[in-house]
Structures are given as structure tokens and as C-alpha cells.
């Protein structure tokens, strides 16, 4: 056995917040999340012999959580959710939707930055809604990478997929997340508002920007243009 009972308990209690957070985002339901965490801990205890080392504990128990979630769906014959877990386009290149590319205007005044303004206006609820709406196979990689700060090798070990697949799945997941955020923003009219303000700023070349910045640095008075 790679760890003692005491270490097992300490590890479980230390990771409980993360386990519950990930379970809640997978199940989209507090009660189901609690059941999933409890089932995961029970399975982990029974499978303790399969743990290679204490250092591997986190990826190991999250793998059990993910597998328990999938087997629960299979048992419930939840076909649409199962489809959502199975990513079929593993060999495809990363996603290609980018809010940055939608909004970035390279010839705007140096102090105008619509894509950063877009981020400033994003609310926690907007992000939460976009994340929850992602297909399971995408949502789980974003959660492990961005919320739980797993490395690519840890995500690969947790989901039992190659690192190259982690890379491409994360790219597609983030693209899908940005597309969902963009669609929400369009529905609120936020993208139009940011774009309209950007249009008020006069066009300027990069050479003019550098000149303006240099003049400001020298403390020149008057217009920066």
C-alpha cells in the first residue's frame, strides 16, 4: 500500500473542497455532487492498492471521481450526457473561435482596448453559465486546468488520455467557452456597446502611437496626435 490510512484521510480531507467543486460542476447539482464525492472516496479506499505513490494521489483520486461520474451516467443510461463526455474529434486541430480576433482593432489609439474592456465587463455569472453549458469532455479539462491548476501531465493521468489530446481538447474547450461568452454578450448587446465606444476613437498608425507615447514621456503639452 503506497500510503497509510492516516495519509489517505489527510489527503481526502485536504482535497475535499476541490473534489466537491469539480463534482458540482460535473453533475450540475449539489445533492448529486455530494453523492459523487462520497462514492469516489469509498471507491478510492477500496482501490488503495492501485495508488502508485503519495505524489500521485491527486490525479489518482480525480481519475476515480471522473470514472465514477461516467459509470453513474452509464448506469442511468443517460445517453445525451454520455455523448457529451465522449469527444470524437480528438485528432482535429484546436478550436478556432477567438473573442480577441473578433474584437481586436490594431489601429486603435494605444489607450483603447476593446477586448480587455470586454473582459472587464464579464461577470462571474456569465463565466459560470458558459462553463456549465460546455459539453462534459470540454468542461472537465477547463476545470482541471484553470480552476484546479492541474498540469497537462496531471490532466492526462486523470483522464487517461495522451498529453497531445489534453492540448487539443483544451484548445477546443477554450474556443467553445469563448464562443458561448461571445453569444451571451451579443444577446446582452455588450459587444455592440464596446465596439461603438471603440469606433469613437480616431484611427492611428503604430508609428503615430510611438510618437505620441514618446511625446507624452517627454512631457509635451497639447494633443498627443
Amino acid at each position: 500500500m503506497a500510503v497509510s490510512r492516516k495519509v489517505f484521510e489527510e489527503q481526502v480531507l485536504g482535497l475535499l473542497g476541490s473534489l466537491q467543486g469539480v463534482a458540482r460542476r460535473l453533475t450540475r447539482n449539489d445533492a448529486d455532487a455530494e453523492d459523487l464525492v462520497a462514492e469516489t472516496v469509498a471507491r478510492a479506499w477500496r482501490a488503495l492498492d492501485s495508488l502508485a505513490s503519495e505524489a500521485a494521489f491527486r490525479a489518482w483520486i480525480f481519475r476515480i471521481l471522473n470514472n465514477t461520474f461516467i459509470s453513474d451516467l452509464r448506469r442511468a443510461d443517460a445517453r445525451p450526457r454520455l455523448d457529451s463526455i465522449e469527444c470524437e474529434d480528438e485528432d482535429a486541430e484546436g478550436g478556432d473561435f477567438s473573442i480577441f480576433e473578433q474584437m481586436h482593432q490594431p489601429f486603435l489609439l494605444w489607450f483603447s482596448n476593446p477586448e480587455q474592456e470586454f473582459l472587464d465587463k464579464l461577470l462571474r455569472e456569465d463565466l459560470d453559465r458558459a462553463l456549465v453549458a460546455l459539453p462534459d469532455c470540454y468542461r472537465v479539462v477547463v476545470i482541471l486546468s484553470d480552476l484546479e491548476e492541474f498540469s497537462y501531465p496531471e490532466i492526462a493521468a486523470t483522464l487517461e488520455i495522451p498529453i497531445g489530446t489534453v492540448r487539443s481538447r483544451l484548445a477546443r474547450a477554450r474556443s467553445a467557452l469563448q464562443k458561448a461568452l461571445w453569444q451571451q454578450a451579443q444577446a446582452y448587446g455588450l459587444t455592440n456597446a464596446v465596439a461603438a465606444r471603440s469606433e469613437c476613437a480616431p484611427l492611428e498608425t503604430e508609428a503615430q502611437q510611438r510618437g505620441a507615447t514618446a511625446r507624452l514621456a517627454r512631457g509635451d503639452k497639447g494633443s498627443v496626435r
Partner: protein
């Protein structure tokens, strides 16, 4: 020896790995060098980094007390 450089196409392909701190030392250094000289790629990287940080802020550490009690009870039963 000619100094190695990367172009915008390669930089954009590797930008998420850079933001995730997953590039090897050599690629990381080439990317940093590119970002120092390319305003457009730097802006894109900043956008991706800020978005990742905002998504990360969704993390919740608080464990509901009923779950905590349930798991402690479960651990005692093993």
C-alpha cells in the same frame, strides 16, 4: 551563430501552452523573445491569460458542512 526566432503563426499556436506554463525551457524563451517585439501577439497572450485567471476565480474552496460530516463519518467506517 544565428539567433533563433519564431513567427506569429507559431507563437499563436503555442500561446495557450505558454499561458498554461507548459512550454519547455527553449520554446518558452523563444516565445518570450517574440512577445517582447510583437505587440499583436502580446495583446493576444494578455487576453488569454486574463480570461484564464477569470475562469480560475470560479473555484470554490468551501466545503458544505453536511458533506464534510458525511465524509468524516465515511472515513471512520473504513
Amino acid at each position: 551563430m544565428t539567433k533563433q526566432q519564431i513567427d506569429c503563426e507559431l507563437a499563436l499556436r503555442q500561446i495557450l501552452e505558454y499561458v498554461d506554463h507548459e512550454l519547455g525551457e527553449h520554446d518558452h524563451s523563444l516565445m518570450e523573445q517574440h512577445l517582447r517585439t510583437c505587440k499583436s501577439c502580446f495583446s493576444r497572450m494578455e487576453f488569454e491569460r486574463r480570461l484564464k485567471r477569470k475562469v480560475g476565480e470560479l473555484r470554490e474552496d468551501e466545503v458544505p458542512s453536511p458533506l464534510s460530516e458525511r465524509i468524516k463519518g465515511l472515513l471512520k467506517s473504513f
